[in-house]
């Protein structure tokens, strides 16, 4: 034991966690009411509570991160602390992977098992006979057993362009990281900015694609299992891209302030990991939702 041990920083009391808990309370309680009010088109307080919850959450995030950044900048964190953050972020990303797995799992089950059984596969001859004898299993599911029809979203065209954009953004982010590690600040700033812009382009095209789906293809959230998996997978992915872009935007501001050094840049690293993760999700999504 001849190593020297650094301090492990245990913060003093902090108001932010309980503010965050109140924020989540307002969000959950507000959303729980808001969903009922919107779907029944009744007036109510849900929307306001929900909005207040997000406001408190944003307030909390600013306060909490300000504390963390101040502590980090004043040198209170050791290498061990940095490992805690990195490991925490990795496990968080694993939990996100599992969240998407639930929806991919639903997609696979629906395509491989549920549709097959509805058309009489396995031991379900009578299910088919008695429920929807006209039903034909196909993917994309263009006509549901109940008779809702839709058109499929093609894999070429816009989705392919979007794939290229997102993959490029991961590459530019990598070069930003290289720039950070080699202290090439110009490259860092430029590449980070390009990454964020590519992310925003992706999101705009995604919105355009949704409009196209709703108006031209008749592909909606309510158009059966194909539409369900399409919108929930791409929708949650889009929410993650949005969050990733916000994270990278704040990282960009911190870069402008000169916060990161080649060997101390956890926030950059975490944002980059998150961005790459979102990119990988998109690749799986492109293959399984659009192509196959």
């Amino acid at each position: 034991m001849n190593k020297t041990y650094e301090k492990y920083y245990v913060p003093a009391q902090s108001p932010w966690p309980i503010v965050g808990a109140v924020a989540l309370f307002l969000i959950a309680f507000g959303a729980g009411n808001f969903v009922n009010e919107v779907t029944k088109q009744q007036p109510g307080f849900g929307g306001y509570v929900l909005a207040a919850g997000f406001a408190v959450l944003i307030f909390m995030l600013f306060g909490w991160f300000k504390n963390v950044i101040d502590e980090s900048m004043s040198g209170l964190y050791s290498a061990q602390m940095d490992r805690s953050f990195r490991q925490g972020m990795s496990w968080f990303i694993l939990s996100e992977v599992m969240f998407f797995m639930a929806f991919f799992g639903a997609l696979f089950y629906g395509r491989v098992i549920a549709l097959d059984w509805l058309s009489g596969g396995s031991n379900n001859a009578m299910t088919f006979e008695l429920l929807w004898p006209e039903f034909e299993a196909m993917w994309p599911l263009l006509k549901t057993p109940g008779g809702i029809e839709t058109q499929a979203m093609p894999a070429s065209g816009l989705p392919l362009i979007n794939t290229a954009i997102l993959v490029t953004s991961s590459i530019t982010l990598h070069f930003a990281h290289v720039g950070l590690e080699q202290s090439k600040r110009g490259q860092l700033k430029l590449m980070l900015l390009v990454t964020i812009l590519l992310g925003l382009t992706f999101l705009s095209l995604q919105v355009y694609e949704y409009m196209h789906a709703y108006h031209d293809l008749g592909l909606t959230l309510a158009s059966g299992f194909y539409g369900n998996t399409f919108f929930l997978l791409t929708g949650f992915h889009g929410m993650h891209v949005t969050l990733g872009a916000i994270i990278l935007l704040f990282v960009f501001f911190r870069v402008l302030k000169g916060h990161f050094t080649p060997d101390n840049h956890f926030a950059f690293q975490a944002g980059a990991w998150y961005w790459h993760f979102v990119d990988v999700v998109w690749l799986c999504l492109y293959v399984f939702v659009y192509v196959l």
Binding site: M1, K3, Y5, K7, Y8, P11, A12, Q13, P15, W16, P17, I18, A21, F25, I27, A28, F29, A31, G32, V35, N36, T39, W64, S78, Q80, R83, S84, F85, Q87, G88, W91, S95, E96, V97, M98, F99, M101, A102, G105, A106, G110, A114, L115, L118, N123, N124, W132, L141, T144, P145, G146, T220, L221, A222, G224, F225, Y226, G227, N228, L232
Partner: protein, 529 residues
């Protein structure tokens, strides 16, 4: 590995002072404060969920409808389940993890102390939402804690959205708690605390935390699909749109089965700590315990469909899930064998923690055996959805998980409060609980095998005698827990001074710090032999 000092410039002067007043609890970053809050919260929820169980047992005391409407009865079974699983057992284990893991591995605190406090404070709010939903027009969730579609989608009330979002934030809390535990264990062990020197409670919690991170997001996905199916026109669980209600069960149980191990693995860790102490022998087969725990965790991902044998899966799937389920009996058997072998020729004494641990070993094994019966596909066709299932999972959850939590509370109370608990009252608590819990759950096996369905407020006349008996057992078990509260309050207020080691045979870092444990422990890393 580096380490471990908690102070920094500006709070030097408050060092080792507990902040006072309500702010201490709202703003705390101290793992012991947060652990205490988790444990107190779990106890309160245990009594709220327990009160609901009393309502259920009062209604079932005799056939016919007595006290409550069927819809309210369904809400009671649903919310009783949700509260006991997510509000009592899981937070109690997280509280124990918070208190004990940093002390057991020689860490100054949890790795991410502020997030730790956030994880806790989400819970009271989440359960507030769930309890508020009971008072909505149409009532609270009434579809069972497993919220099967289409009960939770087509046929559920307006409170479903509140249910969904409260489960979402409970999940956020669990995931953050699990990340904290896992990072603490990976990164904050004192120098010399190698993997195979870690106490088993730490090992079992490490694996539990991994399971939580893997499956809580899947639960979030399941409730999200329920939400969109109910409110936004999707048809994940509706065959008319190309979905399948059975898909819900697959997703739910992919979460749900690892979840039951989340609620029992820390219990294994607790019993593996208590038995060696009171047998005054080292744990038999430490390494095999670690491997058995890991195998149980891995297998837990391959057995979910044994909850669904009667849904009409292909025979191949039924057999696959049957054999995988039975395979779990092997590592579980290793554990029971090791506990018994630890006691073999030990110099045993029978203080309250040991009594609860012994009861755990016997009664959890009964629950395990009824689990094996349920695992047999053709037999399960008879047992499915009967009181036999209720008997099975209450043996593993009440005499398993809850008994282990009570054992842990008695075992570590002197370390937490600095006082010995009242041994005589504790023994009363144990014997009253032991007898009443068996009156309560054992006859459920018989009525279940005879065909009494679960979750129904009324039943056929031939089950009347057994049900009256079961209800009396239930009321007695509920009343017995009041003795526990009495013991806890008494011990918190005073009592015989506890030494640092507390128990003659106790070994481990947590027994080397004074009792009560100082507010900050191991600011400099301890030396591990």
């Amino acid at each position: 590995m580096s380490a471990v000092v908690t102070d920094h410039e500006h709070d030097h002067e408050h060092h080792d002072h507990k902040p006072s007043g309500i702010k201490r609890w709202f703003y705390t970053t101290n793992h012991k404060d947060i652990g205490t809050m988790y444990l107190v919260f779990a106890l309160i929820m245990f009594f709220i969920g327990g009160t609901m169980a009393m309502v259920i047992r009062a209604e079932l005391f005799q056939p016919g409808m007595q006290f409550v409407e069927p819809n309210f009865f369904n809400q009671m079974t649903t919310v009783h389940g949700l509260i006991m699983v997510f509000g009592a057992v899981m937070p109690a284990f997280t509280g124990l993890a918070n208190w004990m893991i940093p002390m057991m591995i020689g860490a100054p605190d949890m790795a991410l102390p502020r997030m730790n406090n956030w994880s806790f404070w989400i819970l009271p709010f989440a359960f507030l939402i769930l309890l508020i939903s009971l008072f909505l027009p149409g009532g609270g969730p009434n579809f069972g804690w497993t919220f099967y579609a289409p009960l939770s989608t087509k046929y559920s009330g307006d409170s479903t959205a509140l249910f969904v979002f409260s489960v979402h934030i409970m999940g956020i809390s669990s995931i953050m708690g699990a990340i904290n535990v896992i990072v603490t264990i990976f990164n904050l062990r004192a120098p010399g605390m190698t993997w195979m020197k870690m106490p088993l409670f730490v090992w079992t919690w490490l694996i539990t935390a991994f399971l939580l991170i893997m499956v809580m997001p899947v639960l979030a996905g399941a409730v999200t699909m329920v939400l969109t199916d109910k409110y936004f026109g999707t048809s994940f669980f509706d065959a008319a749109g190309g979905g399948d209600p059975v898909l819900f069960q697959h997703i739910f149980w992919f979460f749900g089965h690892p979840e039951v191990y989340i609620m029992i693995l820390p219990a294994f860790g607790i019993v593996s700590s208590i038995v060696p102490t009171f047998a005054r022998k080292p744990l038999f087969g430490y390494a095999s315990m670690v491997y058995a725990t890991s195998s149980i965790a891995l297998l837990s991902f391959l057995v979910w469909a044994h909850h669904m044998f009667t849904t009409g899966m292909p025979v191949f799937a039924e057999l696959f899930f049957m054999y995988c389920t039975m395979l779990i009996a092997v590592p579980t058997g290793v554990k029971v064998f090791n506990w018994v072998a630890t006691m073999w020729r030990g110099a045993m004494t029978f203080e309250v923690p040991m009594m609860f641990a012994l009861a755990f070993i016997v009664l959890f094994t009964i629950g395990g055996f009824s689990g094996l019966m349920l695992a047999i596909t053709p037999a399960d066709f008879q047992y499915h959805d009967t009181y036999f299932v209720v008997a099975h999972f209450h043996y593993v959850l009440v005499t398993g998980a809850v008994f282990s939590i009570i054992a842990a509370a008695y075992y570590w109370l002197p370390k937490w409060t600095g006082h010995m608990y009242d041994e005589k009252l504790g023994q009363w608590h144990f014997w009253c609980s032991l007898i009443s819990v068996n009156l309560l759950f054992f006859p459920m096996h018989f009525v279940g095998l005879a065909g009494m369905p679960r979750r129904i407020p009324d039943y056929a006349l031939q089950f009347a005698d057994f049900n009256a008996f079961i209800s009396i057992g239930g009321f007695l078990f509920g009343a017995s827990q009041l003795i526990f509260v009495w013991v806890l309050v008494k011990c918190a207020r005073g009592g015989e001074k506890a030494t640092a080691q507390v128990w003659e045979g106790a070994e481990g870092l947590e027994w080397e710090v004074p009792s009560p444990a100082p507010y900050h422990t191991f600011e400099t890393p301890p030396v591990i032999k």
